[in-house]
């Protein structure tokens, strides 16, 4: 009777993951009318628009948008990993009574809406903003320099928002790590680098993988931060999709872009898991 316990979860998945994805899939083959309502005229026109340009050749416009989003998300994930891993390690190895305090500190930003925190960054980074003002006041620079509405600002905003999502799962792995194994590595003559590479890294790998997924996947689809801190030029896929559902009122095209993203993720997952099962001894 144990399987009964997972029924609520299965129902939840069916209602809020499978069903919406099906609706999305159907919409992606439809058309819109002049008021922006979905009309059930089926064609593959929306997918054609993503990959084929007006002259009938392979279109780079939306492929570039996908590539740009993956680049931003990938860079964000790498920075989060490099910056977050040591923090997670530090917290996980801290005396037990201090860990909760440190973890609370990591979570405190969540008490404020991320939109408000993003607006705070706008105030800090704008040309007449706090940072430029401070640097000019202290004579470090003479002219304000451009920070907001640049790719750098976008990545900063993403790293700032997603860093805790990497720290928390890695912390979970670090906390469970048996110190005796690390000590054994040292006793057997491994230096810090080898001990890290052959003992610590493999043992914290589940946390790292979870953290990478928790950062990378939402970062690819993020639209609010990229729009607010990037200015809306050079849009990411999240921005384009959000625009289709809102101002451009083209739900079918938005659905087609969304489905493309889903298929992209699904195939990467499939390839990754196949490779792992092939090469595992």
């Amino acid at each position: 009777m144990g399987w009964l316990l997972i029924v609520p979860m299965l129902l939840w998945l069916a209602a809020f993951v499978v069903l919406p994805t099906l609706i999305l899939a159907i919409y992606s083959f439809c058309e819109r009318d002049e008021l922006g309502q979905v009309v059930y005229h089926f064609s593959s026109e929306n997918y054609r628009r993503i990959f084929i340009d007006e002259e009938g050749k392979f279109g780079t416009t939306y492929v570039t948008v996908f590539a740009r989003s993956i680049f931003y998300a990938g860079l964000t994930t790498m920075i989060c990993l490099v910056a977050g891993y040591p923090v997670a390690w530090f917290i996980g190895r801290a005396p037990e009574n201090r860990r909760h305090l440190l973890l609370t500190l990591v979570m405190i930003p969540f008490w404020t809406s991320f939109l408000i925190r993003t607006y705070a960054w706008i105030t800090i980074l704008s040309t007449n903003g706090l940072l430029n003002g401070f640097l000019q006041y202290t004579r470090i620079i003479s002219e304000p320099f451009e920070m907001l509405y640049t790719p750098g600002a976008v990545v900063l905003g993403l790293v700032y928002s997603y860093l805790p999502f990497l720290i928390l799962p890695v912390y979970g792995s670090v906390e469970k790590l048996d110190n005796a194994l690390v000590e054994a590595a040292f006793d057997l003559g491994a230096g810090p680098v080898r001990a890290f590479q052959h003992v610590i890294l493999p043992l914290t790998q589940p946390g790292i993988v979870a953290g990478i997924l928790l950062v990378f996947i939402p970062a690819v689809g993020m639209f609010a931060i990229t729009q607010l801190m990037g200015g809306g030029t050079d849009p990411t896929i999240g921005e384009v999709i959000q625009n289709q559902f809102m101002s451009a009122r083209d739900w079918p095209f938005g659905a087609a872009l969304g489905m493309t993203l889903v298929i992209l993720f699904a195939s990467v997952f499939w390839l990754a898991s196949r490779r792992r099962s092939n090469f595992r001894v």
Partner: protein, 347 residues
């Protein structure tokens, strides 16, 4: 620090989740779906104080966004605030409730110039909220050359120093005006001619913002903007270095109105709100916060002289202004053209 007990944590989460349910108890409400930066909080509070009706406010940044949420259903709105061409389309599609003008006696305060306009010739479906234009704001401290129209803004000299509205219909109309084409005849030929021009313009833009384009100008991130006149009027009020220019090629005048969508659950409350905002002293509060062109003749009389002299709110002379008409199916092509060009990116 000790971790809180699991049961305490669960109880807290539960209590917090249930808190809003108290709010659900029946109370007179009005579900207002309006533009961001358009309905001052003082007016909302004043209405609730006077009538006891609580206002649930939700905002949008473009007519198209409003339409997509309204037509998607699921949410029942009592009062919406569309522009002229959107009203026209909604009337055509039978999506608006006719107003009971007996509940809105204060409509007499409106300047006749702003009643029974082309988009609602019988005046049965909407009441003008504010009018305005879309024009160019120049930070004259940073830009010494004279700017008279779209051609100057997008001359190529001000690359990445420009903020524009994130609004496909607007952007296309600027291009059509520049080409000397009528802005309401959006044919495939006209769009074909506009496309290369827009493709040349968009990479020069630094920020797209329909909600609050004044922010990027105030923060010094851009020196030029094509924005709503109310935003320009606020900038001018803050600092006289921000001047407002109506483009020589021609500009869009918009008329935003209050209307009641079909099936609104609280229609009478919506009419009460319309009547309330038509009171001269209330209308003045709207002008104080969002200095667009006030259509309420009685309210304009109560404005301070410096408000009436604000060139962005009440443009002097006889500028070339045009209203948008509903363009039907072509709206799809307009959205598509701008989406595809914007996706190309700038840098």
């Amino acid at each position: 620090m000790k971790a809180p007990h699991l049961s305490t944590a669960l109880a807290t989460v539960f209590a917090l989740t249930l808190l809003p349910i108290r709010e659900l108890k029946a109370k007179a409400v009005l579900n207002l779906f309006c533009w961001s930066e358009y309905v001052p909080q003082a007016v909302i509070n004043g209405f609730t104080e006077e009538t006891g009706i609580k206002i649930n406010q939700e905002n949008y940044a473009s007519n198209e966004e409003m339409l997509s949420k309204l037509l998607a259903g699921g949410t029942r709105y009592d009062l919406i605030q569309p522009s002229e061409y959107t009203i026209e389309a909604l009337i055509k599609a039978g999506k608006l409730e006719p107003l009971n003008l007996d509940n809105i006696p204060n409509i007499k305060n409106l300047d006749p110039k702003f009643t029974k306009l082309a988009h609602d010739p019988t005046g049965k479906f909407c009441v003008t909220w504010m009018a305005g234009t879309v024009g160019i704001v120049v930070n004259t401290e940073k830009i010494k050359e004279s700017i008279t129209g779209y051609k100057d803004v997008f001359s190529g000299k001000y690359r990445r120093r420009i903020v524009v509205l994130n609004d496909a219909r607007e952007i296309v109309s600027w291009a059509l005006n520049t080409l000397g084409l009528p802005i309401n005849e959006v044919t495939p030929q006209a769009l074909g001619r506009a496309k290369p021009l827009i493709a040349e313009w968009l990479p020069q833009v630094k920020v797209y913002d329909s909600d609050s384009p004044k922010t990027a100008l105030l923060n010094g991130d851009v020196d030029l903007g094509i924005v709503w006149s109310g935003e320009a009027a606020i900038l001018w009020k803050r600092n006289k270095k921000f001047t407002y220019v109506l483009p020589a090629e021609g500009a869009h005048q918009f008329i935003d109105s209050l209307a009641i969508p079909q099936g609104a659950p609280n229609k009478v409350n919506a009419e009460k709100f319309i009547n309330y905002i038509l009171k001269p002293e209330v209308s003045v509060k709207i002008s104080d916060a969002f200095p667009y062109t006030n259509p309420n003749a009685e309210a304009v009389r109560l404005l301070k002289p410096e408000q009436r002299d604000n060139p962005a709110s009440y443009p002097p002379g006889e500028p070339k202004l045009e209203l948008f008409k509903d363009i039907g199916k072509a709206a799809r092509e307009v959205d598509k053209l701008v989406t595809d060009l914007k996706a190309r990116g700038g840098r």
